[in-house]
């Protein structure tokens, strides 16, 4: 039984990071119809900004986290002005946006490689501190990840449900023209959507790098497909769905290795479990587990 709790705890850690990444992808897709292939590399960007602060300038990890969030939010907004808005003005279609996102992913990732070195890096934190909670052992990094991730999830849920900005975002995501006619400032809301998606990507990147302990700029792409899987699971474009989808996916990935399940899947196949969930959901219930049935 302890093993089950341990796996569930690990699943919550993985799942909450995926959830934070997935909200950004889902909002951006819902509002702009962009499948942001570069989102994994937004995470990487955040992780390496934090690395520069934490290791480069010996800053505390909290300061590094703030810097990661700020810088990645700026990156998100900056790219809206430099890339996405010009593309929209030209009337770029689905394929064009897709290809542009891939180009952007290549540029971002390899700029980070060029500046941040290719060797595995780690933050200056105590990785050996382990807490024992009734048989479930969690490292300090994992506890920090759960704490920050859950606060972020609650904050985002509150922002979307209660604030004017959140309501504008959801309205745009539901029906863009109707929202514009109703007087919502589309351009402004879009910029804030990128700021939110970028900031969350910054947190998710930092946390993923933290629990990986040693990381290279390739971790972003490795996490991108699980993030897409969470988005699809929750129903593309639904922010709440993405949050729940991320948590569920994290749990499924970890629990798939449980011995009691026919010996459990070898842990190297955890990503394969995520990709299979992705494909199965798309085939069986493309509107997502929580999405409304409509023509997909």
């Amino acid at each position: 039984m302890t093993e089950l709790f341990q796996l569930a705890a690990n699943g919550l850690v993985t799942g909450s990071i995926i959830a934070i990444g997935a909200v950004g992808v889902s909002l951006v897709y819902g509002i702009l119809r962009i499948v942001n292939f570069a989102h994994g590399d937004y995470l990487v960007f955040g992780a390496y900004v934090a690395l520069a602060v934490n290791v480069g300038w010996n800053g505390h990890i909290v300061l590094a986290a703030v810097a990661a969030v700020g810088a990645t939010a700026l990156l998100g907004a900056g790219l809206e002005f430099a890339l996405w808005r010009p593309l929209r003005r030209k009337g770029a279609g689905l394929f064009s946006l897709f290809i542009a996102a891939i180009g952007l992913a290549l540029v971002l990732r390899h700029v980070v490689f060029l500046v941040g070195e290719a060797r595995p890096r780690r933050y200056d934190v105590d990785v050996f501190q382990v807490y024992d909670l009734g048989g479930v052992r969690l490292s300090q990094s994992q506890l920090i990840a759960i704490g920050i991730a859950f606060s972020a999830i609650v904050l985002v849920a509150f922002l979307l449900a209660r604030t004017g900005l959140g309501k504008s975002m959801r309205a745009l995501s539901d029906d863009r023209s109707l929202a514009a006619v109703a007087g919502i400032d589309v351009d402004r809301t879009v910029v804030f959507t990128w700021v939110l998606a970028g900031g969350l990507a910054g947190i998710a990147g930092l946390l993923q790098a933290l629990i990986l302990s040693a990381f290279t700029p390739n971790f972003g792409f490795a996490l991108l497909l699980p993030i897409f899987a969470a988005v699809v699971l929750g129903g593309i474009g639904s922010a709440y769905g993405a949050l729940v989808g991320g948590l569920v996916l994290g749990l499924v990935m970890e629990l798939s290795t449980w011995d009691a399940l026919a010996g459990g899947a070898p842990s190297v196949y955890k990503p394969v479990v995520a990709f299979s969930v992705l494909i199965l959901v798309l085939l069986l219930r493309p509107q997502g587990v929580f999405g409304k049935a409509r023509v997909v």
Partner: protein, 326 residues
């Protein structure tokens, strides 16, 4: 003589460009003509190369039989992937196909007994024994090389021979695909790309045509995988990572979508950017070490993709009226 001026070096670049021409031609059929956003193209290349190598080393098949079987297996994978997924909308299809490609790659890395694992096909025969699948190929290549020597003398090296062989096959395939898209079959593919509902309303079985396009593309990717395997003697799962698919897209979009003869042009340009800059030994290239150059190359490829989408969506040679990117 500096590497830049050497025939051998450019022969190598040409071989890479030839292999990518075949790979990207498959994508041209799927993406350029049919409008299918297949982001798992590299997986079919992997399936082709691995099936051939496994059949030769583990089952003792002759190379030619194994190669034909490899193409057939890749087509089978294409149908298997297409049957459930081709009904999905374009963006969902893209995500599903890339997930499929990643599953193939993870299996190739982790199913060591079948594939040799992360170190690649050199471990196919089991521990302590270096496996080789291309003895028959090398023999064949040697005989072609002997023939070439009569014509061009000592310039007929291994790479030059490969250059001749891979481009001969690429040109034949280009002619075949060009002929195919000029038939009524090809026109239906284009009509599906331009307006799926219209094609459907005219009584065309859109799903069957999409499936055929996917299968043709898979076969071409498998052929590219075979040549890749022949050229490099052994390969590993890392050779088929999603970057390879993105490279194929770069070639198709750079050359121009929906125009077959643009594929080799895109592939040669890509070959020069990708393999060529590796050996440029003058500034500013000489200021970077080889690892840094690799990153700069990929940044350049990313910028080329973004630039094309922004400023020349029809590519260098594409037709404006048949644009896939709008």
């Amino acid at each position: 003589m500096s590497t830049i001026a050497s025939l051998q070096f450019w022969a190598f670049v040409g071989v890479i460009a030839g292999i990518y021409t075949i790979l990207a031609l498959g994508l041209q059929v799927q993406f350029g003509f049919t409008g299918l956003l297949n982001f798992g193209h590299a997986a079919f290349m992997a399936v082709g190369a691995y099936t051939m190598a496994i059949l030769v080393v583990k089952a003792g098949w002759p190379l030619w039989g194994a190669s034909l079987a490899a193409i057939a297996v890749a087509i089978g994978f294409g149908l298997l992937l297409g049957l459930p997924t081709l009904r999905l909308r374009a963006d969902y299809l893209a995500i599903t196909t890339i997930a499929f490609a990643e599953i193939v790659r993870y299996v190739a890395i982790n199913a060591q007994g079948l594939t040799g694992g992360p170190v690649g096909t050199i471990a196919l025969a089991g521990p302590g024994e270096a496996a080789s699948y291309n003895r028959d190929w090398l023999e064949f290549q040697r005989s072609v090389q002997d023939g070439l020597e009569v014509v061009i003398g000592e310039n007929a090296t291994r790479d030059v021979t490969m250059l001749v062989l891979v481009w001969a096959v690429a040109l034949v395939l280009l002619v075949v695909v060009e002929a195919a898209v000029r038939t009524p079959w090809g026109r239906v593919l284009k009509s599906i790309r331009d307006d799926e509902d219209a094609a459907s309303a005219l009584g065309k079985n859109v799903f069957a045509y999409k499936l055929q396009a996917l299968a043709v593309g898979a076969a071409l990717a498998a052929i590219a995988g075979l040549f890749f395997a022949f050229q490099f003697s052994f390969f590993s799962p890392g050779d088929f990572d999603p970057l390879v698919t993105f490279f194929a897209y770069t070639i198709v979009i750079l050359g121009g979508t929906a125009r077959n003869w643009a594929v080799p042009v895109g592939a040669v340009l890509f070959g020069v950017i990708f393999a060529g800059t590796r050996f440029f030994d003058f500034p500013p290239f000489s200021l970077l070490d080889s690892g840094e150059r690799a990153y700069v190359r990929l940044i350049v490829i990313g910028l080329v993709l973004i630039g094309l989408v922004l400023f020349r969506p029809q590519g260098l040679l594409g037709k404006r009226e048949e644009m896939v990117l709008e």
